[in-house]
């Protein structure tokens, strides 16, 4: 809801980072701000679960491959 006060910041990105942000924005039908906000939420969620001892995996069912993603 639009009730939460929002604060503004300047974000400095490289050309490559900005290109990726623009691609994600177009692919996901989201504003660039919304992409960044999603990224923060996802990072916090993943970090919290890893901190409590869980692991994050990517699984390729076709290749029967499973790899753990290490998150900083």
């Amino acid at each position: 809801m639009a009730d939460q006060a929002k604060r503004t910041m300047t974000l400095n990105l490289t050309d490559a980072e900005m290109r990726v942000l623009e691609q994600l924005s177009a692919q996901k039908d989201l504003s660039k701000t919304a992409v960044i906000r999603q990224a923060i939420r996802l990072y916090q969620l993943v970090d919290a679960r890893i901190t409590r001892g869980e692991k994050l995996f990517f699984e390729d069912e076709d290749k029967k491959a499973k790899s753990e993603l290490m998150v900083l």
Binding site: M1, A2, D3, Q4, Q27, K28, D29, L30, S31, T33, A34, R37, Q38, I40, R41, L42, Q44, L45, A48
Partner: protein, 207 residues
């Protein structure tokens, strides 16, 4: 956030105001355990004694909100409650990451996922009928779906909404809310995945 929303007082048929809030606390979770669960169990026991299959018992009644305290701190989660007469009338947990659209025309697009939505047992007509009592308020579930759609709009998701519906809730989501039943999800106990497109969400809000 605290705003007034409209419900219907079933005893009078008149609209009444309730409070929708998003600063849900562990105390609200405890209230569901303390106030809601005994009533649901009483209805289940009565139906079982009468030889009926307690199919009208909300299948999420075993959900233990008190285990969800850690979720309150996650930005990905948003909690909303509706209060009237100092009692919690409904509670919802929404997620803004972790799920994407499945309908072909919007596959892969972000949505707000309704992880949990429950109304107080005294607002569930079949349940209260089983107990021989009138139900109290109508419209609680609809108001919670409405806030989920509005969150989706606010997040830039254009009203896209998704959820896994319990069988007992399918008539509400599919018929009342007019969500599209996409199909059973084998990864989630074959619960039916339901989804709103932006146009459907607009239609829902406009009703």
């Amino acid at each position: 956030m605290r705003i007034a929303v409209g419900l219907i007082d079933v005893s009078t048929g008149e609209p009444v105001q309730a409070e929708l809030f998003d600063d849900v606390t562990i105390e609200d979770f405890l209230q569901t355990q303390r106030d809601w669960r005994p009533l649901v169990l009483e209805a289940a026991q009565r139906l079982t004694r009468a030889g009926d299959r307690p199919s009208i018992i909300p299948q999420h009644f075993h959900w233990d909100w008190t285990r969800k305290e850690g979720d309150l701190r996650m930005l990905a989660n948003r909690f909303y409650g509706i209060r009237r007469e100092d009692k919690l009338q409904g509670l919802a947990k929404l997620m803004t990451v972790g799920h994407v659209c499945r309908l072909p025309e919007q596959a892969g697009k972000p949505l707000v996922y309704v992880d949990y939505l429950e109304v107080a047992p005294w607002n569930i007509k079949p349940l209260m009928t089983a107990l021989g009592r009138p139900h109290r308020f109508a419209g609680v579930g609809t108001r919670l779906v409405e806030i989920a759609v509005r969150l989706s709009v606010d997040e830039g998701f254009r009203g896209r909404l998704g959820l896994h519906s319990l069988p007992t809730s399918e008539p509400f989501y599919i018929n009342t809310c007019a969500m599209t039943p996409v199909g059973p999800d084998a990864t989630k106990q074959n619960l039916t995945w339901c989804e709103f497109t932006p146009a459907q969400a607009d239609g829902f809000l406009g009703r």
